[in-house]
C-alpha cells in the first residue's frame, strides 16, 4: 500500500487480557518504529527494528510488552496482562533504512477497561 497501515484502528479490552497490534509498513522500508502516545503527550519511543531484529528496545516499559517482525516487514506489538495505564494510541512508523524519512500510520487506539 501507499502508506503505513495499522490494525485495528480501535481496540477495547478488559484488564488482564492479551492484545496484539499490527503494523504493515511501506514496502521496502527496513526500519520500523513503535511509539506510544498518551492523552496530552507527545509520542514516546518503544522499540526500533532494522530488518527482522530489534535494534533498540529501550523504550518498552516492562516485560509485558513485546514486539516481533519475523520476516522484516509486518510487525506485531504484543501486550500481556493489560493494565488500565496501557490505554493510549500506539503508533507505528517506517523508514527506508535509518535515514529519518519516517512515515507514520494512523495508530491503534487501545482502551483497557
Amino acid at each position: 500500500g501507499a502508506g503505513v497501515s495499522q490494525t485495528p484502528s480501535n481496540k477495547v479490552t478488559e484488564k488482564g487480557k492479551y492484545v496484539e497490534l499490527r503494523c504493515d509498513p511501506i514496502s521496502g522500508h527496513t526500519a520500523l518504529y513503535w511509539y506510544r502516545q498518551s492523552l496530552g503527550q507527545g509520542p514516546e519511543f518503544l522499540i526500533y527494528f532494522q530488518g527482522t531484529g530489534a535494534a533498540d528496545d529501550s523504550g518498552l516499559p516492562n516485560d509485558r510488552f513485546f514486539a516481533v517482525r519475523p520476516e522484516g516487514s509486518v510487525s506485531t506489538l504484543k501486550i500481556q496482562r493489560t493494565e488500565r495505564g496501557d490505554s493510549a494510541v500506539y503508533l507505528c512508523a517506517s523508514s527506508p533504512d535509518n535515514n529519518y524519512g519516517y512515515t507514520f500510520g494512523s495508530g491503534t487506539r487501545l482502551t483497557v477497561v
Binding site: 507527545g42 533498540d56 503508533l91 512508523a93 529519518y100 519516517y102 494512523s106
Partner: protein
C-alpha cells in the same frame, strides 16, 4: 536524558495572525530536527526538517523554522495562519548516530478562529 520542550501547550489565534511555536531540546551533540503536524483525525505528517546547512528551513503550507544552535532551539513560524492550520504540532529530535528514534515534545494545540 535527552528531552524536547515545547513552551506553549495551547495557542489560540485569529486568522491572519502570525504564529511562533517554541521548541528547545537538551542535548549537546549533533541532532536532526523535525516539526510534525497532526490534523484532527489524521496521522502525523512531516511539516519540515533540518539536518544541516542553512538554519532557516522552509516546509509545507508556508511554515518555516529556524535552528539556533547556541540556544538549542528550533522554533516554528508562519506569517499568517489559516483556519485550516488548526491542529496539534510536535517538535522532535533525532540524535545523529543513534538508532534514529524520534524524541518528541509534548505538543502544542493550535486553534485558529475564523
Amino acid at each position: 536524558a535527552q528531552s524536547v520542550s515545547q513552551h506553549n501547550h495551547h495557542v489560540i489565534l485569529s486568522e491572519a495572525a502570525s504564529l511562533e511555536l517554541g521548541c528547545n531540546y537538551s542535548y549537546g551533540g549533533t541532532v536532526n530536527l523535525f516539526w510534525y503536524v497532526q490534523y484532527p483525525g489524521q496521522h502525523l505528517q512531516l511539516l519540515l526538517k533540518y539536518f544541516s546547512g542553512d538554519p532557516l528551513v522552509k516546509g509545507i503550507k508556508g511554515f518555516e523554522a529556524e535552528f539556533i544552535k547556541s540556544k538549542f532551539s528550533f522554533n516554528l513560524r508562519k506569517p499568517s495562519v489559516q483556519w485550516s492550520d488548526t491542529a496539534e504540532y510536535f517538535c522532535a529530535v533525532v540524535i545523529k548516530g543513534n538508532t534514529g528514534k524520534l524524541i518528541f515534545g509534548q505538543g502544542t494545540t493550535l486553534q485558529v478562529k475564523p
